[in-house]
Symmetry: C2
DNA sequence: CGTCCAGTTGACGACCTTCAAATAGAGTGG
DNA sequence: CCACTCTATTTGAAGGTCGTCAACTGGACG
């Protein structure tokens, strides 16, 4: 399914993310642009890496949505993170040899693979970039913690509201949301796996949220008419996302 | 409540953990021993740091048990991790200025504070130690992921079994468990907050597990008469703990 | 115009919560 | 050594959130 390409890889999502953390020097930016990256275009619902793999490279999402998930022994799936352009869902494999998660595309995606060797070399030569990657994995950890809280201690309705808030804020941070609307190519079954509930219940919750005027969700399009209320219902405080200088919504 | 001390701080839990990752050089070990550390002895049920804090130092647990937790807006608590000697529950604060979690003692504890300045300096001078800390935060992230799966997709009974398995394996890795028994100073209310269920239900589950001969749990003492079955019931595979060269159980 | 998949709906049941109260165990003071 | 207190644990009954099962609808696509 992969269609490897090497012409003009577009580093902008990753570079944009790093620049939101600290101002890159010209040297650092050039080093990132010089980073050998193999671009692949993937269809939706494809595994990019699988639990148990021992990858020799990591990848960054250039466009499209992916999710990180795990399976129980009896075949139930839990999505533990939604990944969006600029993310590097398996940086961990740089230090941890065996993957404890799988990553799958939710939409057609273009991803850029970078060998651990090149990535390691980059980190050694540019400690500030290494620190930024480290920081990113820490933010990822903070999001996992919030998800444990969300799944463990919030009921389905606020739990869904919380995840919607998180997605909207994260998408806004990478320029993929306008005001309080965004494309959200996530099926109800995928929400179910992320929230730890069933598709049927996701459906009921979403309908209730529509009836309550909290969201307008049709096809891939999400609009949030009343952001403040959604935040409140979802008990959402974006601090855990550790966004540096988020642009205030219009 | 804190009784600061500076005589003979015992770095062994932290050093032992780092040595389980890679062999320290004499230089590296000495640098760790030279690290200024302020030791504090804390009573049980004390917050060490709190969500929203902007700490100027991190701490490592020298002895005792702590937990990392978060609260919902309506006051429900979720424990997102149990921390044991050798852990550094808030290394993240080295990169993320505002804490998104609180850390509390579960037992009387002795903890060692290290300023971010000293820690940062150590990381800059000894990149392998920096990498080891980074690695540790990645393992922490892997554990959070497993907890999302555990809370999201396993019922109370296997969920409890899974957490017990994790605790026993982690304690064994730092020498705090013999065979299949260990001290486990965790109340049922604390288990409830970790599993995302109620104290009442924890109690029922534990009794069922005792009746099924899976565990012997009395006071602070846990014995596991049938490790294989407990592992199987808890759907537990220790890969996500990324232990390097775990000592096989006797 | 048939197929396929996401979304939707209803009835029923299970897991777990809530509320309330009883019991046990550890530590304290008389 | 025996109350007394405080907390952790235990137990029972009733109810709610959510799961299961099964069927149906609707839009996209060829």
């Amino acid at each position: 399914m992969a269609a490897p390409q090497n012409s003009h890889p577009d580093y902008s999502p990753l570079i944009r993310k790093l620049e939101s953390i600290f101002a890159l020097t010209d040297d650092e930016r050039q080093a990132l642009l010089d980073l050998p990256m193999q671009v692949a275009v993937l269809a939706e619902d494809q595994d990019i890496v699988r639990e148990g793999d021992r990858p020799s490279r990591s990848f960054t999402i250039l466009s499209g949505f992916t999710c990180t998930y795990k399976m129980t022994g009896d075949g139930k799936r839990q999505i533990v993170a939604f990944c969006i352009p600029g993310d590097v869902p398996d940086v961990q494999s740089l230090h941890l040899k065996v993957l404890d998660i799988s990553v799958a595309t939710l939409t057609p995606c273009s991803v850029g693979f970078i060998t651990h060797e090149d990535l390691w070399d980059l980190c050694m030569r540019y400690p500030r970039i290494a620190a930024a990657f480290w920081r990113e994995t820490l933010v990822e950890g903070a999001i996992f913690r919030e998800w444990v809280l969300n799944v463990g201690r919030r009921e389905a309705y606020p739990r869904m509201a919380h995840v919607l808030c998180e997605l909207l804020v994260r998408l806004r941070a990478v320029g993929l949301a306008q005001d309080h609307a965004c494309n959200l190519p996530i099926t109800q079954g995928e929400f179910a796996d992320a929230l730890g509930i069933t598709t049927v219940h996701v459906n009921r919750v979403l309908q209730q949220m529509r009836a309550d005027g909290l969201i307008e969700l049709k096809g891939d399009r999400l609009k949030v008419p009343d952001w403040e209320t959604l935040k409140q219902v979802g008990d959402f405080d974006p601090i855990y996302l550790h966004l540096v200088q988020e642009r205030p919504a219009a």
